[in-house]
């Protein structure tokens, strides 16, 4: 494995870089899109169940089908990385919109009322009270979405864009186990590292959850 790495350092490095941005850019985009959608699901309670159902359906679409189907809808080239980014963003939104809604619903209504009675207006209350209190739930969802994206990127290799996944296809084509092993180890390491980073951020921004 080390010999393969030494001889193919450039290829592996490029694949790893591609893997990182293909997985994490959708997390960022998905999070930004999911925030207002999740909020609407709480602000207008009638929207909550339709939201949950839609998210469930979206998440159940097979990724490969989405990768192949998106160019038709978006008019992008079949080999464009945009397809992967859009597909993974859809999955992230499906996971996080519900998480954001559930996080906001987990906030004690008594505390929200107290905030209102002290003179918070809606937007400031959301930013200063409700979102911070929902963070533990939202960040837990973010961990799932991030790890899920890192593993899904590899599927993109079947349509030619897949970061470390390309090491798998290469290994299969050449009946050669080394690149497959390297790909597996690196994606697991990447997922573990991303998860750890989020946990560290969570510890830093929600010190109150550990205060008992």
């Amino acid at each position: 494995m080390t010999e393969y790495l030494r001889n193919n350092a450039d290829t592996v490095w490029l694949a790893l870089q591609e893997h990182v941005w293909l997985a994490l850019l959708p997390v960022l985009l998905g999070f930004v899109i999911a925030l207002p959608i999740g909020y609407l699901g709480v602000r207008f309670p009638a929207l909550y169940h339709p939201l949950v159902n839609t998210c469930g359906v979206l998440y159940s679409i097979p990724s490969l089908a989405l990768f192949v189907f998106l160019p038709v809808v978006l008019g992008t080239k079949v080999l464009s990385p945009v397809n992967v980014v859009v597909a993974l963003t859809i999955y992230t939104v499906a996971l996080l919109a519900r998480t954001v809604a559930d996080g906001l619903r987990s906030v004690d209504p008594v505390v929200v009322q107290a905030a209102t009675a002290m003179g918070y207006r809606r937007v400031r209350r959301l930013a200063g009270v409700e979102l911070p209190m929902a963070l533990p739930v939202i960040l837990a969802g973010l961990r799932v979405a991030t790890v899920s994206n890192i593993s899904l990127v590899s599927v993109g290799a079947l349509i030619g864009i897949g970061g470390l996944g390309q090491l798998f296809t290469r290994g299969f084509q050449l009946f050669y186990i080394e690149p497959i092993l390297v790909g597996i180890v690196l994606s697991v390491l990447l997922a573990g590292l991303a998860d750890l980073l989020i946990v560290l951020v969570q510890r830093a921004v929600t010190p109150w959850t550990r205060a008992v």
């Binding site: 107290a114 009675a117 003179g119 109150w208």
Partner: protein
């Protein structure tokens, strides 16, 4: 002064929470709103800071209709304390207290410095400042809740069952501290409680509500105990209201008989009543500053049916039997 002018609140679905309420809450006084559950006392309270909008009628603060005020601005000028305190779990005690001053535009540093002083004022030491609400006991949380409501020094405070979630011993202590605080601050306070004893103890005035959101009677605690307006109020106030009413009467005017038969030490302080096995405890003593309720209690508990009065130096200076007390009360009534 807070004025309710013929206020009605009917909830969608037709249930009447508040039924033609007209009530004045005088400036600088604590008015207790008391009644059984479902009597509209909390709804009335929450109409003052516009958390609930009346169906008809007006609520005025110093003559100005609250309906014309910006909601958030109005609320920032009114302290708000609730049961279980409702503290922000994600903020430290200090930042909880600093909340409203920060909303009003103070810098975080200024607000924190003022919050630190307030914490001491409600009896919490400086080491509580950095803790989170989950790390405090119920009584401590409630103190923080009061400090948070006082932080912007609002002239008005609304308190909804502020002391009912803590155990009786802590409640007693919070009551005492709160009365001392209010004596200093003189806020205009509306306090909702279902506990008539709490209302009588804390209220300068007590407004008794009955089911269906109607005001049954409003008056000083003494008036309420002496002359309940109807059976509902009489029952709500309690069967021992005669005895409890005595707590508003001073023992200063009560005639005493000379000290006789009591065992005294060299300085004239009571040792007890003579008994076969040595002196029998008097069960305590009273002074001119105590209430008639204390005297009655002492006379009942005394082994000889006589309460002992002492002067400032602790020396016995008079005796009152329960007959004397009964005669005094009968004479006062006629």
């Amino acid at each position: 002064m807070i004025t309710f002018e013929d206020v009605v609140k009917v909830y969608p679905g037709g249930s009447t929470a508040v039924d033609h309420l007209s009530l004045e809450l005088p400036t600088g006084k604590l008015t207790a709103l008391v009644g059984p559950s479902g009597c509209g006392k909390t709804t009335s309270l929450r109409m003052i800071n516009r958390m609930v909008t009346p169906t008809s009628g007006r609520i005025l603060i110093d003559g100005e209709d609250v309906a014309g005020r910006d909601e958030a601005a109005l609320r920032r000028g009114i302290g708000y304390v609730i049961q279980h305190a409702g503290l922000f779990p994600h903020r430290t005690v200090l930042d909880n207290v600093a909340t409203v001053p920060v909303l009003l535009g103070k810098t975080r540093r200024e607000a924190r410095a003022a919050a630190q002083e307030l914490l001491e004022r409600v009896g919490l030491s400086a080491d509580f400042a950095k803790r989170y609400p989950a790390q405090l006991s119920g009584g401590q949380q409630q103190r923080v809740g009061v400090a948070r409501a006082l932080a912007a020094d609002p002239p008005i405070m609304l308190m909804d069952e502020p002391f009912s979630a803590v155990d009786p011993v802590v409640r007693e202590q919070l009551h005492r501290e709160f009365l001392r605080l209010q004596e200093d601050l003189g806020k205009t306070i509306a306090l909702v409680t279902h506990d008539i004893d709490e209302a009588i103890k804390l209220g300068d005035r007590v407004a008794v509500f009955r089911q269906g959101g109607r005001l049954a009677q409003v008056g000083t605690p003494r008036e309420l105990l002496a002359a309940p307006s109807d059976d509902f109020v009489a029952e709500f106030v309690g069967r021992d209201r005669g005895l409890r009413g005595l707590s508003f009467d001073s023992a200063a005017g009560l005639p005493v008989r000379p000290v006789d038969g009591l065992l005294l030490d060299d300085a004239g302080r009571p040792l007890g009543w003579p008994g076969d096995d040595g002196p029998r405890d008097t069960g305590g003593t009273f002074t001119k500053d105590d209430s008639l309720r204390v005297v009655a209690d002492l006379a009942i508990r005394s082994p000889v049916g006589i309460a002992v009065r002492v002067g400032p130096d602790g020396a016995a200076d008079g005796l009152v039997s329960h007959h004397d007390l009964a005669d005094y009360l009968a004479g006062r009534r006629s």
